[in-house]
Symmetry: C2
Subunit: 280 residues, 2 copies
């Protein structure tokens, strides 16, 4: 099965793809838009994109793409983001003079670099996997990269230090997408399921959000996520992202969604899918 | 008044500082932690940090620092993020061979680069202002940077193309922080005010979020922002971020906060402050 993701081979998104689809045929794409288009046109069977990170928040651009593309969510996974210091075999910690990585990764590993490699220069690269690839290809003296374990394996680098990020509570949630038609036909999985929606309420309705949540609270449906997002250019107008327990076709969720449809100005059901596991 | 911010002179955070405090004495710091510490210890009078972006979501790390430091919010501003292509005077579009910027900025301007500079190489740098500084200092043939208007002015570069980002709905909300004591003594401003809080509800209370929102809805207090954040390592436990209208010392907000205190397991009032303007 062909699965699209954004980034280079060895990127965290690729780990998410393989955590979801062990036998996936990897289809890297240069942008999130390209991933959504590949799914929509049927060029690939699935697309995998990040939707929120435990330190850096929701990826609104992917929520926007979910709203505007004819795709549905069919699965999710929570991936622990672990950074490793890596270099060509034979290079030791004492030899490292330059460390290449994505600026965000370098920032997350700043304490380690300051303490263990105070004389090394931190050099920014486009992405973590790209930094590992470059270090492997160039074999430049004293060069190392900070990237994932998978990148080390992919580019034949040795891990000099594992888990060098300062905050270990770093998880990214990824969604697996299929064409909307196909997503709706997915068999209702056994086990715990959840549903994701995006909706807006009519403006100037006092307590609009509270009313929309009553739809779920009065039916004792548990919420897993809620987030408001101001609509730029429309003061007082908001989009709401909601994740809650249950499948769109089963009561009481089916009735709750009907009820929400009566009072919301727009509502898009993004998908019903099994609750994802956490990959440490 | 000394105001700390994260980044180099010419960074977007510096623009936010000057939008809030025209006569500020700029105190750049290498990290958000360092900004919070400078405010807490009184080394600076104010600190300014980003808290959410319209495309990339909330900056959870700064919410965490707000929870754990003895500081309070005293003001906010929404800054439009505009990217410009800039180079030393005399360089023309046709001469540009390499474009330096932060990877996120390069990504936001990818369509412009592909269309207008198909043969130029995009090279990542630590931050947008740093890229502008480097291009100005090195005077390397064919080098340009993507950064803010302020960075162009600061480093004496000419703007070759303005507003080159693909999505113009790019705004970042910044908060101004003072020591907690001082923030509480801030005079109650006239005009529209808002209050920000972070709280958690006792686990396994069905409809806990709905109950906590009832505290505000029943008193007809308008909400401006709501966001849940799962507590990593505590399944089923969430933090809630809430912004709503009114000042902490005035009814009905004072009573609503007392009420929330009765049912929440933790509650921190982050500050009451005037609603901020939008700087285009």
């Amino acid at each position: 099965m062909k699965v699209a993701f954004q980034g280079e081979i060895g990127a965290f998104s690729e780990e998410a793809v393989l955590a979801l689809y062990e036998a996936a045929e990897l289809a890297p794409r240069p942008s999130f838009e390209a991933v959504f288009e590949a799914v929509e046109t049927g060029t690939v069977a699935r697309g995998v994109v990040p939707i929120e990170n435990s330190l850096f928040g929701s990826v609104h651009v992917n929520y926007d793409l979910l709203r505007t593309h004819d795709v549905g969510i069919v699965a999710e996974v929570n991936l622990r983001i672990r950074h490793h210091l890596m270099a060509p075999h034979g290079v030791e910690m004492a030899d490292v003079r330059r460390v290449y990585s994505h600026p965000q990764a370098l920032g997350q590993c700043a304490a380690f670099l300051r303490e263990r490699l105070p004389h090394a220069e931190a050099v920014s690269a486009y992405d973590t996997a790209g930094a590992a690839k470059m270090v492997a290809e160039r074999q430049e003296n004293g060069a190392a990269a900070i990237a994932s374990e998978r990148a080390a394996a992919e580019y034949g680098l040795a891990v000099l230090a594992a888990g060098v990020e300062s905050n270990h509570q770093n998880y990214t949630r990824f969604l697996a997408l299929a064409r909307a038609e196909e997503a709706e036909e997915e068999p209702a999985h056994t086990g715990q399921r959840k549903t994701s929606i995006v909706y807006a309420m009519r403006q100037n309705v006092p307590g609009a959000l509270f009313k929309s949540l009553a739809v779920f609270a009065l039916r004792e449906i548990d919420l897993y996520k809620i987030e408001s997002r101001p609509l730029v250019g429309s003061p007082g107008a908001y989009l709401f992202y909601l994740d809650f327990e249950g499948h769109r076709d089963d009561d009481p969720v089916r009735r709750a969604l009907d009820h929400l449809g009566e009072i919301a100005s727009t509502l898009k059901i993004l998908g019903s899918y099994p609750k994802g596991r956490v990959v440490e």
